[in-house]
Symmetry: C2
Subunit: 212 residues, 2 copies
DNA sequence: TAAGGAATGTTGACATCGTCTACATGATAC
DNA sequence: GTATCATGTAGACGATGTCAACATTCCTTA
């Protein structure tokens, strides 16, 4: 139903008008609704009412489509992470980094399928320049935020890169584990999940007793 | 060359003799050498000098083969983790858990391709009973070890499940990040990696100043 | 404004893949 | 020794990704 959401030009013209964006949009829907293994270039073309060869004009191959999706995913998770920091209204590095971890996890849960697609083998294999840049951007904001906490006195005897990997690993690993139905069968309520997120992140970047 | 390693019966008989095991073995090789997207039932059959339909007698479908691989992977990482604990020769829960984290990470690096296959979408989707059991076994040893450290005084105000997720997330996230060429471009020497592993795990389960 | 190239979509083809069915062969239990 | 079951073979089918040749439309530019 939302298949034809874009390109709402009532005249069904030869040219679609916005096919690349529509393909990405539909691809995201499919991943979310049927899983990434149901993603098919021909299927997308069918859904969009376009010939099976059309997508090739916009994506060199299927891996390129996946990379484009992953790129927007990384940018999106970066934004969510940064927004969470800003939403604290605090300039305290610990409070900000703590919020970033929670924001990251909440994004991962709100976008499980896309989140897991970020680690799909094809994405790693045929990474584009844009994807690499998006990933670098994310890594950079984490590293910067970690560095700020260190300036505030956190784990000053630990090398920055080690502290960064550690800090980043917690939300990453937790997201991977908790979004995996095989690894985590406890069905939980919304509120329970929020509490779990808080508690886990508190163990990496404690903020108890810190004033904004 | 190592393709025909198994089933070295010089008489090329109609029946292969050990096809299931050979398929698994060859599949592991392919994943390691060419990546998981190069894995093909027909390709394996070709490599093993067997008709393209033969693998279907032993694996219901391709996903079942992946699940079998993942199952042995989880059992293997469980063993590596437990062995690392035992290798300490200590009965101190902190020392043992610390070693487990390091053992897990070392296994992940030594078997990157297989490790990443554990999180392949198809594995999640069509998980077998054996796979679920293998995963549960791994989860159990981690939870038990975490519980022991808590009895020794670690983070006693934190619920066990939270502490378990946290403790497990660090090696999991670190392995995922560090085995990803996109996330970690710093090429490092063997010794550097070992040191990094030690330092990261020390941040989750500190053992500095503990006597065996 | 007319023309012509660039962008975009279509059609048909090809190789490959997973999977199914019918059949052949070999092993094993009785 | 024979019957039955497990295992391997051969052929077919539909689906997919990708390519090349062609069609249509857009847009720049003279």
């Amino acid at each position: 139903m939302s298949v034809q959401a874009t390109a709402a030009t009532e005249t069904r013209s030869y040219h679609h008008g916005n096919l690349a964006a529509s393909i990405l949009e539909r691809a995201a829907e499919i991943i979310d609704e049927e899983g990434i293994e149901a993603l098919t270039l021909r299927g997308i073309a069918r859904d969009l009412g376009v010939s099976h060869g059309a997508p090739n004009r916009h994506f060199k191959n299927k891996a390129a489509l996946l990379c484009a999706l992953a790129t927007s995913g990384w940018l999106s998770v970066r934004d969510a992470t940064l927004d969470a920091a800003d939403a604290t209204g605090s300039s305290n590095a610990h409070i900000r980094l703590n919020a970033m971890g929670q924001g990251y996890l909440r994004w991962a849960f709100a976008n499980r399928s896309l989140y897991r697609a970020l680690y799909h083998p094809d994405v790693n294999r045929y990474a584009s320049t844009e994807l690499k840049e998006a990933i670098d951007q994310f890594s950079q904001i984490v590293r910067d935020a970690v560095e700020e906490t260190q300036k505030e006195g956190r784990a000053q005897d630990v090398p920055l890169n080690v502290l960064t990997v550690f800090t980043n690993a917690v939300p990453t690993g937790a997201a991977l584990m908790l979004t995996d139905p095989l690894l985590h069968h406890d069905v939980e309520s919304e509120g329970e999940l929020d509490r779990l997120i808080e508690q886990i992140i508190e163990l990496v970047v404690p903020v108890a007793g810190i004033n904004k």
